[in-house]
């Protein structure tokens, strides 16, 4: 988010899902698309079937590799080296789109200087990928466009996740793959309304529509609209909040629809923190592991029981509609918040329905300016949609970028290692992924008997060679320990993981993977490094 916002002026997917199948080259890096975004993956598979080049960069031999032209199996955490190496090949081969660079970008020269360290030999050494394969992929990406980049948490959940993202925007810029159909840099949003939550300003530094809280102008605008005075101090990010709770600086937490007990990196720290709170309110549809820690639990309505909008990964604002009544006394989240606010004597929360809220959103959020429930009756609208007669924007940056100068920024980069790498004591690198059959901490999917039947427990995926060296067979219980915690799971011996790499999901409370993961944060995006940590394994 923060990465692309800096380099391109918007953190969202630059292009649309429907455009993916029109790409001539697709570069899917750090995304296990068929598992995490199955329906979007159909587009990539369709493109590959119809002859597009599909370049998959992933430390594991994921399902998507079956459809790939090239699989770059780089070591976890070496994305910057891999992508910058590709860019160097492109620049050296004279395949850079100089016209695009000269007319639409800034800072190219400084960027080119930073490529010096990424000669193929060094890159091959860092990533473990044969140089000629990197070179081949780079040349295809540059010369057989339009080329579209897809990425997901495999890119962002690193202590240098922002660098990773910048490397990708550099790649797209250097080849002129922005501002046109079937190209772009496309972060795939993991949850149904991540995009919307960000758009709505559920972030510590921005109001709705990414209007900076530190900016006097936005403060004034929202003070006027809401009739209150507002703080211009940026708030704390997710991980920082838990740190401040731990340190006793934050004493009350209002937690909605989230289960940090399982999802937070270094989960033990989060649990300990929550136990230190004076007052914890959890609002959810089920009594999650986290809710059990709460002082007050509030019953929320599920998506099927309320009206509203979700904004999907391609910035499409779509209507959800109430199908059934919420159980018991459960209520839509907005009604609960409004009730608390009213109970506290606040003004400005007396909405009659969701449409009214959307009208207020539209009035304060430029990119949602033209949105109304009436207009959403059709297929939804992709923001920016500033006015009532604006059709929405399938492709971003067509004419200019959203940066202050209107030009895209090349970001010079250098390679940094992951925060915690395997050593003698913790010899394996653990990475996390997701199962097709479960969603996040499983609070919904694990309550669907059929999904539970298809996938009912955690498995530690491990290469046959590693398994053999530890005397492990398939389906044996193994103890997994990191510097922060330990858990158990059964083994799945598979060549999907290369030697040295093991992998787990985090869907299962019985095997809480996130007690193991590293809390090392990306300095810009403040995302924890759940994709790389060191563990040791022991047969139980």
């Amino acid at each position: 988010m923060a990465g692309l916002a800096t380099s391109l002026g918007s953190g969202a997917m630059t292009n649309s899902i429907a455009e993916i199948s029109g790409a001539s080259t697709i570069f899917a890096i750090g995304t296990n698309t068929t598992q995490a975004h199955p329906v979007l993956a159909l587009q990539a598979k369709k493109a590959a079937r119809e002859g597009a080049n599909l370049i998959v960069a992933n430390p594991k031999e994921i399902d998507l590799c079956r459809h790939a032209t090239i699989h770059l199996q780089h070591r976890p955490g070496t994305d910057v080296a891999l992508v910058m190496g590709m860019i160097k090949v492109i620049v050296d081969a004279g395949l850079a789109d100089m016209e695009f660079i000269n007319s639409r970008c800034e800072n190219f020269d400084a960027f080119v200087d930073s490529l010096a360290e990424f000669d193929l030999a060094s890159v091959e050494k860092i990533t473990g990928v044969p140089g000629e394969l990197i070179s081949k992929a780079a040349k295809i990406f540059a010369s057989e466009g339009p080329s579209s980049i897809l990425y997901c948490m495999g890119i962002t959940q690193h202590c240098h996740g922002t660098d990773n993202v910048w490397s990708l925007s550099n790649l797209a810029l250097v080849t002129g793959n922005l501002g046109k159909a079937s190209a772009g840099v496309n972060p795939l949003r993991g949850q149904n309304n991540v995009q919307g939550s960000c758009d709505m300003g559920a972030l510590p530094d921005v109001y709705p529509g990414y209007q900076k809280v530190a900016k006097a102008e936005s403060k004034k605008k929202f003070e006027a609209a809401w009739g209150v005075s507002l703080s211009d101090q940026e708030g704390l990010t997710h991980s920082e909040i838990f740190d401040d709770i731990h340190d006793g600086k934050i004493t009350a937490l209002y937690l909605i629809g989230e289960n940090p007990y399982l999802s937070e990196a270094n989960a033990n720290h989060a649990i300990e923190s929550m136990n230190r709170l004076d007052f914890l309110v959890v609002q959810d549809i089920f009594l999650t592991e986290t809710a059990e820690l709460a002082d007050v639990v509030l019953p929320a309505a599920s998506f099927a029981e309320k009206n509203g909008t979700f904004s999907n990964t391609e910035r499409r604002i779509q209507r959800i509609r109430k199908a059934v009544d919420a159980p018991g006394e459960a209520k839509p989240d907005w009604q609960i918040v409004a009730a608390i606010a009213s109970r506290m004597g606040a003004q400005g929360f007396d909405f009659e329905d969701e449409a009214q809220i959307m009208n207020e959103i539209a009035s304060l959020t430029p990119s949602y300016g033209g949105i109304s429930y009436e207009r959403l009756e059709g297929g939804g609208i992709q923001w920016p949609c500033p006015t009532q007669d604006h059709p929405g924007t399938p492709t971003l940056h067509v004419e200019k970028f959203g940066t202050p100068s209107g030009k895209a920024q090349f970001m010079p980069l250098s390679f940094r290692d992951s925060a915690e790498l395997p050593d003698d004591e913790y010899p394996f690198l653990l990475t996390t992924d997701r199962s097709l059959f479960h969603y996040h901490t499983g609070s919904m999917t694990r309550r669907v008997a059929g999904l539970e039947q298809l996938d009912s427990e955690e498995f530690l995926k491990i290469n046959p060679k590693d398994a053999a060296s530890l005397g492990l067979e398939d389906n044996e219980v193994v103890q997994i320990a990191s510097r922060r915690g330990q858990t158990q799971a059964k083994t799945k011996v598979t060549k999907i993981c290369p030697p040295g790499l093991v992998s787990m999901t985090f869907h299962f409370a019985e095997s809480p993977t996130n007690v193991l993961t590293s809390p090392a944060l990306d300095p810009v995006a403040k995302i924890p490094e759940t994709k790389v940590c060191a563990v040791k394994l022991e047969k139980v």
């Binding site: 309304n193 919307g196 909040i241 009350a252």
Partner: protein, 345 residues
Amino acid sequence: MSKVTLTIDGLQIPAKEGMTVLEAAQASGLYIPNLCNHPDLKPAGLCRVCVVKMDDWKIAISCKLPVKDGMVISTEDPEVQQIRKSTVELLVANHPMTCLTCEADGDCELQRVAHYVGITQENLNRYRRSVRSIPIDRSNPFFDFDHNKCILCGICVRTCDELQNINAIDYAQRGVDSIISTLANKPIAESRCESCGECVIRCPVAALAPKGAQEPMREVKSICSYCGVGCGVMLGVRGQKVVSVEGDRDNPVNKGSLCVKGRFGYRFINHPERLKTPLIKKNGTLEEASWDEALDLIAEKFSNSKGDKFAALASARITNEDNYLIQKFTRAVMGTNNIDHCARL
């Protein structure tokens, strides 16, 4: 694409070049019986039920026959009628007669063509009836595979191949022993099947049928609540219960496609463990409480925690409207920018 006109059974109908005769007929609201055709898939031309006569001499399969300007098509030519009738009679003679208890009853393409062709008991009695007796594959939690009802139209195979690129199933064996099969005919749950159910919804009979499916009383257009792709769904409702989910074919994102979670992962909605009342922790245990009680307590506690002693974690799972109000509440009422959500996880 240029426009052409063709004649079907004396009716002049417009079509676009590149269309097949069957597509042109369907676009004009004409029914040509067919079984193995599906608009999402390439025509296979295997059921032979959509047979027509072209320009008075050539027997052709309308699902694969490209339209040409001035083309004359007959669907009622005696030779066409005979081929169509025999073909449908053969299918029926090899099909179980369990219509009333069949999942597809009333929505069965075989019933439809049989009815159109006009199968009589008398005609059917001339045939040697033979119905397979292969055990039903019930290994998948969401759907059953009954090979005895399968008419081998291949729509499931083509769906799994052309649309999903998963290829969990394919034709196996040959001739009358042909069967839709996984490797070595293992239970489908042991295959690469991802349970997306795309084959199930396209099965023209009920060889592939959802388990315990209930016909909804009404459908509500909404958006799937799992990943960020935002697939359009039709929630099927009976009373106050969601009983089915189907892909919304009009939605520009998924055009009707869904994954296993989207299609089958809805049973959490009416799950008995759903929270139904506020709970307040008393003496270390959470006890049911009234909204008034809970709101009073929260209002009191939150009033004492204004400023940076407070933080809110909103959710990427809830609506824009929900999120908007939560950040507004945090900023405007609690006076802090300590608001974030789980975007990074």
